[in-house]
Homo-oligomer: 385 residues x 2
Amino acid sequence: MTPAYFDHNATTPVDDAVLEAILPYFKEAFGNASSRHAHGIIARRAIDKAREQVATAVGVQPAQVIFTSGGSEANNLFIRGTADNLKPANICISAIEHPCVLRPTQELARRTSERWVMQKLGVDNLGKVDVVAANDVMKQHKPDLVSVMLANNETGVIQDVATIAEIARSHKAWMHTDAVQGLGKIPLDFSALKVHAMTLSGHKIYGPKGAAALIVDKRLLLKPLIYGGGHENGMRSGTENVPAIVGFGVACELAKSRTEATAKHVSQLRDHLEAGLQAMDATIFGLGATRIPNTCYFALPDIEGDTLVVRLDKAGFAVASGAACSSVKPGQSHVLEAMGVNPMLARCAVRVSLGDSNTLSQVESFLEQTKRIVTELKGMNSVTM
Amino acid sequence: MTPAYFDHNATTPVDDAVLEAILPYFKEAFGNASSRHAHGIIARRAIDKAREQVATAVGVQPAQVIFTSGGSEANNLFIRGTADNLKPANICISAIEHPCVLRPTQELARRTSERWVMQKLGVDNLGKVDVVAANDVMKQHKPDLVSVMLANNETGVIQDVATIAEIARSHKAWMHTDAVQGLGKIPLDFSALKVHAMTLSGHKIYGPKGAAALIVDKRLLLKPLIYGGGHENGMRSGTENVPAIVGFGVACELAKSRTEATAKHVSQLRDHLEAGLQAMDATIFGLGATRIPNTCYFALPDIEGDTLVVRLDKAGFAVASGAACSSVKPGQSHVLEAMGVNPMLARCAVRVSLGDSNTLSQVESFLEQTKRIVTELKGMNSVTM
């Protein structure tokens, strides 16, 4: 048995090079970047460098990077920060957004005053936003804000953000994409996606938790979520988390340089994994759609996802059941619901998300263990039934 | 010459024991605390332990701790989060609050709809909130929200939060204190201060940047700033920054155990420092008021603060000039303004904030260097004049 971490869409271990880069900033170079003395200047320069690294990773200028504490904060900053600068109007988001886009949008639509109207852009049965339908919705409702994620965290399905952005722009809407699951997995370019804002996160790409960014078009008018000392050009106050930002910068540099090699490696593993799962009668969600190369979201008939996750954990494999990082609807994936997946099958959903360090032997071991567990569970069912 | 870091109110180096505690959470125990597998469970337990440590440090239950990414976020969470659950009314804050309390309050008062009315509670010439005047203001304006910091970051002056809280409560207001500069410097007890909410921060007490908390009375109704997966009991969504939270927990434990010894040590150093500065005709702001024991805020006549900070930095001493971590009014301290300090003298303000590792020899060296720099600067002035 070769135990393995197969949950890289949830979080990743910090890369050795990243850890080495951040360590000096805890004790030796611990200054507050707002201080005017040498300690502060060293911290400020470290942040400047990281800002360049992040900007380079997605082809923007450093001044377009607003550092935040995480992807959730960055998504909330776009949704609420942009909305608070506009008269309440229509906001369109895809039906499969992460809760940190969905929920702030719902909150805008729930206000007692200055209430927004939310429309959801539906997906097809592969989990891809239906661009024709999206066009109709936007034509009818003329949104001021649109947010569609680049790659879904559960299915891995890549959305046609550039086309949706063009439609959004034709209605003079501000367009945002949550690209947290895209960075490091597929080539990423801010301009090519035609968005006004994009969310990136460090801990999904072998960087530390605690640093992320909202990348913005300079014309975007934004109000901060956090007011105070005026950090991040007034858009995000608070003492900068220097080590996390430094690590995020290095992780972006590594992600950019490794995207191609990683994609090749993990897609081979995934093909092998999915062939094995299909031989066990698994349904692979999003199969046939263009997906990020590391993600396999599957269901084995009559094997509850939560149960399989726990059993696999005991066998040394870390995987996620449907919508693991959400408590919106415990036990139910809003993504699979939007795809029209039968609720009985949706309960069986399990996500494997591969990473650089995973091996073919781990995948083979995973398939063996899954087969064993399934046999055991089916045996138990037949005994108890 | 013995160079020294004298800017502990801005930030502190991470303690060795804290660094040791957080290191495993970057690579080995890197899990997402929301994951249901072993990696996630280890991360969740680490957060639970840190929550207990933070709670214990201020005498509350773990469930009263809401982790945030920093003190600025925690202060914004109280101001905006509580206001958004109330009908717009009056909010009172002291005239010497940190910008991360002042600015979100100004923003409430600037809204196009649901606008709040802000009143400032003035301070006397020592920088202490005038309780009699505060009583009059609250009697007249009947606030729903009140925020008064425990210890001012510039002067170190400790406020009579408990008495102000009693007045606030008599008007049925929700009372908050920013206790970021109090923790680890003076004994701290949530109940004794009679507040409904209190802000703490890790990086001011030898913990890492990126973790802080809003401590809340369970009856306080709050709306989150960051919506999403429902972390922190729904009050602060986003993948938890496990290493930073772990470090914050350990730092709280250390701060509590060391408060008395640290206070004794740094107050001796400060007495020596202030005697030396007074011999150089310095004004010590807040002298005579009860202050946190590590802070000395002084002005040497005709020596501009910014200039002295730069010169001292070259000599190896890290100190801050007035309002270093704010860009509200560059070059001018709103704290000294509120105290009625002559603007010419306020321009000369320099803050020394001492810490555990500072020594008497560093203080003596600092006094020598300051004397030398002052002599040089006065010489230059007389030449150019």
